[in-house]
């Protein structure tokens, strides 16, 4: 288990402010954040490249804050590979074996095993400079895994790859994780990656961790405006919440939205576009919120069509392409939006 306790580190341009984190054994932990959020230096501090100005790092209950990287048994994979260009693929993979007391035979068995696991066995005699990005990243993963690390740190490992290779390698990472049960901490700025790989997720901004939780949980219930916006949650509004008869009514620019989350005063709300039902006629349902408005904008993203409706504020509803065509929606049409009070997330 990795435990980061109140870590602060100032490197001028990049910094960490009082970061705490718990990563359970065998977890696939995602760290998501915009560029400059301090994700990389958090990983590098866990790896022992930097020693923190303040705070502690524990690995399986042991304080490793002052331990040099070579004694931590934590693997590192960078976005731009960092394969040693003067060594061939095989020499790269077995680089770390010099610090282990193993026979030549044992080492070459390990190399073969990992090369096969990652599908790079046919590349062993090549030099990194002659390989594609996807191949290079597979080799860096093999090079890290041969050490049988207790934790594998991945710093935007898919960031430099084209989209096809990225999807392939993403699946590969999932497979490797389920196969080796190595604890993984994976930094990314792609929500897709976080959602598809992570069992837990932390959002970072400005050198701080802003929210931790299961990806779907964080996605549904962002705890602040930054997270909501960063995750691309639309329909984020600010309003005044008043409680009446055990329910909260939030006044958003004249629109009175009912919410199951009881909180009064100034609040932010977010309603996921897929939780909003769009209809041509008003519908009778248990949903407390129903508004009439005019279609302002239609944005077709392929399978999902996002419709912006002006109900006093611009409100986005996501519907399937099929229902979009069935309803024959046009700009300027009058439609109804309906959503439940429990889907109105308040923060």
């Amino acid at each position: 288990m990795v435990r980061v306790e109140n870590i602060s580190k100032n490197l001028g341009e990049f910094f960490l402010k009082d970061v705490s984190l718990d990563v359970a054994d065998s977890e696939y932990f995602m760290i998501l954040g915009p560029t400059g959020a301090g994700k990389t230096i958090l990983l590098e501090t866990i790896a022992g490249i930097y020693s923190p100005d303040k705070g502690k790092v524990y690995l399986n209950g042991r304080d490793i804050t002052r331990l040099p990287p070579r004694k931590r048994n934590i693997g590192m994979v960078y976005q731009d590979y960092m394969l040693f260009p003067h060594l061939n693929v095989e020499q790269n993979i077995k680089y770390g074996m010099r610090s282990r007391k193993l026979s030549k035979q044992e080492i070459s068995q390990k190399v073969d095993k990992l090369a096969n696991l990652l599908g790079v066995a046919h590349l062993l005699q090549r030099h990194p400079g002659t390989l594609s990005g996807g191949e290079q990243q597979r080799i860096t993963i093999a090079r890290a895994l041969i050490m049988e690390p207790e934790v594998l740190l991945l710093d935007e490992p898919l960031g430099a790859l084209d989209s096809k290779t990225r999807i392939k390698l993403r699946e590969e990472l999932r497979r490797i994780h389920s196969f080796t049960h190595t604890t993984m901490i994976h930094v990314t700025h792609s929500f897709d990656e976080a959602f598809l790989l992570g069992s837990q997720m932390a959002i970072m901004n400005n050198g701080e961790i802003v929210q931790v939780g299961e990806p779907s949980e964080v996605f549904r219930k962002p705890n602040c405006k930054f997270v909501a916006e960063f995750l691309g949650v639309t329909n984020v509004f600010r309003g005044e919440s008043v409680i009446a008869n055990g329910i909260a009514y939030i006044n958003i620019n004249g629109l009175r939205v009912a919410s199951a989350t009881i909180r009064d005063g100034q609040v932010y709300t977010s309603i996921r576009p897929e939780d909003v039902l769009l209809s041509i006629k008003p519908i009778e349902s248990s949903a407390r919120n129903s508004f009439k408005g005019e279609i302002q904008d239609i944005s077709d993203t392929g399978t999902i069509v996002r419709i912006t409706v002006n109900v006093g504020v611009p409100f986005v509803a996501a519907i399937t392409r099929r229902s979009f065509l069935d309803m024959g929606l046009n700009q300027g049409m009058e439609v109804f939006l309906t959503f439940k009070a429990v889907d109105v997330h308040v923060f």
Partner: protein
Amino acid sequence: MFSRLREANFKITTILFGIVLAVFIVALLIGVVTHTTPKALIDSLLSGETQFAIRLSLITSVISTIFCIIVSVPAAYALARYNFRGKNILNTILDVPLALPPLVAGVALLILFGTTSFGKGLAEAGIKFVFTPLGIILAQFFVNMPFMFRVLRSTFQGINPRYEYVAQTLGSTEAGAFWRVTLPMSRNGLMAGSIITWCRGIGEFGAALMVAGSTRLQTETLPISLYLNMSCGELPLAIAAATILIVISLVSLFIFEKFSGFAHVF
């Protein structure tokens, strides 16, 4: 049309300047090599004095280059990688010998090693620099060290420190990562730096003259030989030394260009 013509004229004029310069340089070199008859040149090349000068030049320049490498590698690494107080001042001071006229550098070395108790102590212990071949090595080292240092510093700066970070997570110490990763990756820079340092060592005259003097068949390197024979009218011997120096420079330049990408350091 007219402006097109003017543009072409401009292009041709600038190119002409380049050509004139090149012709000037080539003419100078050919002038030296063809000044005597080929027979006189070969005889002089094979003379004992020239042979001595060649040997002394080779030995001193190789040794001084090795010392430059030994000292510059760690210093250049430190200034490329680490941030510490006084780094800028250190960087500037290490470049000083580059700006110093070699004669001044020679005088400074002569004063330190010839007149101070430090230099006298060394001499008593058997390490004599003044008027010895050791002095030539010292002079070459001092004057040419900044070249090695600068090439290496820029080489190390060009290598992403993350290579070393990864090596450290793979069980290497900081020094181990340097030996197994950074240094092999710096091979081209190291080669380029060694060649330019060596080439300049062979040609080193002013500082060496001050420290080691110009004693025939004792501290007579190729440039000293050229100087001695020139001043006493032994033209063929002087030309022989000059010819060898020209050949060495051209070959070094060629090799240096092969490890390209480092010329910008100067």
